[in-house]
């Protein structure tokens, strides 16, 4: 655990527990992640990955333990975290009847971001030509690209990414790398990425968290983790 502790922690979890009714979706999770680092969370379906992201995003309250995100205690200071995290979830958090541009402009207004940033991101995810079409008419990969643009619209300090490359073809993966990939230079951000890809996930990780039935069975620096250990989580 100490191996993952850093001086300026973007995330600090001390015994985080979260329940749904009687069932513990997350149980006694300890972790620390320095600002600018990438945490990759592995685990089979139902292991608690999405719940962890939702707690960090302030969408769910922790039921026990201490959670600090970007120097703010949750849930007491959740208000100070909002607007500083970018969330890419399974659902794109976009309205199907609105176009990509209308959706992004709506979120830009909520975050107090100018319309120029919307156009910049439509270009970045190569969606300008289809920007006026309702989202329901776009392919899942295109919707995912718009969701990625929404996620980084307000230049967040912390990215919470749930299988970010789902539905994307290789060209699209390359396209979105500058937006949500490990950042080299520029304004640094911290990332928490949920992944089912042992080698791909490990390659981008500074810290690895392995979950099984809500329990942390692996929490170490990525350099100390072998791909076989991650594959073992799914057996």
């Amino acid at each position: 655990m100490e191996a993952t502790r850093a001086l300026t922690a973007a995330l600090e979890l001390e015994g985080l527990t979260r329940r749904y009714g009687e069932r513990e979706a997350l149980s006694d999770v300890w972790l620390s992640l320095a600002a600018g680092q990438t945490l990759v969370v592995f685990g089979p379906n139902g292991a608690g990955k999405t719940t962890l992201l939702r707690v960090l995003a302030t969408l769910l309250r922790p039921h026990a333990g201490r959670v600090r995100v970007l120097d703010c205690e949750l849930p007491a200071q959740a208000w100070a975290v909002r607007g500083r995290v970018g969330v890419l979830a399974h659902e794109p958090l976009l309205y199907r009847e609105l176009s990509a541009r209308e959706n992004l402009r709506f979120h830009a207004r909520l975050h107090g971001v100018g319309a120029a940033r919307v156009e910049e991101l439509l270009d970045a995810v190569a969606m300008r030509e289809r920007a006026r079409e309702p989202l329901r008419t776009l392919s899942r990969g295109m919707v995912q690209r718009v969701a990625i643009a929404r996620c980084v619209l307000h230049d967040p300090e912390l990215l919470l990414l749930d299988e970010p490359y789902a539905n994307l073809d290789p060209a699209a993966v390359e396209l979105v790398q500058p937006l949500i990939g490990a950042r080299v230079g520029g304004h640094p951000y911290t990332r928490v990425v949920c992944s089912h890809d042992p080698s791909g996930g490990l390659a981008q990780a500074d810290v690895v968290l392995g979950l099984q039935a809500g329990r942390p069975v692996l929490a170490r620096a990525a350099s100390e983790v072998a791909p076989e250990e991650i594959a073992g989580l799914y057996r």
Binding site: A57, T58, L59, L60, R61, L70, D71, C72, A76, Q77, W79, A80, V81, R82, G83, R84, V85, V87, A89, E91, P92, L93, L94, Y95, R96, E97, L98, E102, F106, H107, R109, L110, H111, G112, P134, R150, H154, E157
Partner: protein, 248 residues
């Protein structure tokens, strides 16, 4: 309002360095209202349904009563019960897109006052009711109402305005409460009806003296006052509890 909300932030939250500036309330409400109306214009899921329901109900009353026209308390009762049930159709749909398409999460992740969602949804419902009444009231006058509607208009507009505010406030509150449940289509009307009954009573009593041929009089001010007070009380209750409805 903003000042009150700021006080709710814990006093011990000083170290929240780097916290983003909250988006102004009016800007958030504007963004939400614009989005709501845009989605409704694209889907036409609520307002046309509400209006068609009201028209169909008047036609049913027209034939079921087997009378050429109605007036007074009878007319007021038919008008307000029809408007109430038509409004419930809108209440039921008010939060569906947000719940089904992740709109709640998108909103909650932004640095905004949560009461902005309440204000925007209540304004949206108010717009829906306005459009509904622009269709339903003339249709009512044409299909059922005996006396000429024109002298009644000023009093009717005042009563409609006060009742609409109450329906919008209570409808928004109940819609937010019901949308997270599995039986939302059932629970919404079941919760809303008892709360909306006083509005129907007040509005009917205020409207009845307007819809008579002889001895037409202005709406009784006590009923208008009752409606106004009811709006105020539920407005305050909604403002106080709405944030908690969005909480995990």
């Amino acid at each position: 309002m903003s000042a009150i909300r700021e006080l709710e932030r814990p006093a011990a939250s000083a170290p929240a360095a780097g916290a983003k500036r909250q988006t102004p309330l009016w800007q958030t409400v504007g963004a939400l209202l614009r989005k709501e109306l845009l989605v409704e214009l694209r889907t036409l899921e609520s307002v046309p349904g509400m209006s068609l329901f009201a028209l169909s109900t008047f036609v049913v009353f027209h034939f079921a009563l087997n009378r050429a026209s109605v007036e007074g308390e009878e007319a007021a009762g038919i008008l307000w019960v029809t408007l109430l049930f038509a409004a419930l159709l809108g209440v039921n749909r008010l939060f569906v897109a947000d719940a089904d398409q992740g709109g709640f999460d998108g909103f909650l992740l932004a640095p905004v006052e949560r009461s902005a969602l309440f204000l925007a949804k209540a304004l949206t419902l108010l717009v829906y009711l306005l459009v509904l009444e622009l269709v339903a009231v003339p249709a009512f006058a044409l299909l059922l109402l005996g006396p000429a509607p024109w002298p009644a208009l000023p009093g009717l507009i005042a009563t409609l305005a006060l009742a609409d505010v109450g329906v919008a406030v209570i409808g928004t509150l109940v819609g937010a409460l019901a949308v997270h449940t599995r039986a939302r289509d059932l629970l919404g009307p079941l919760l809303a009806l008892p709360l909306l009954v006083p509005i129907v009573i007040g509005a009917s009593r205020a409207t009845a003296p307007l819809l008579v041929e002889a001895h037409r009089s202005a709406p009784a001010s006590k009923w208008l006052l009752t409606l106004g007070l009811y709006d105020l009380v539920f407005g305050l209750i909604a403002y106080a509890v709405f944030d908690f409805l969005l909480e995990d």
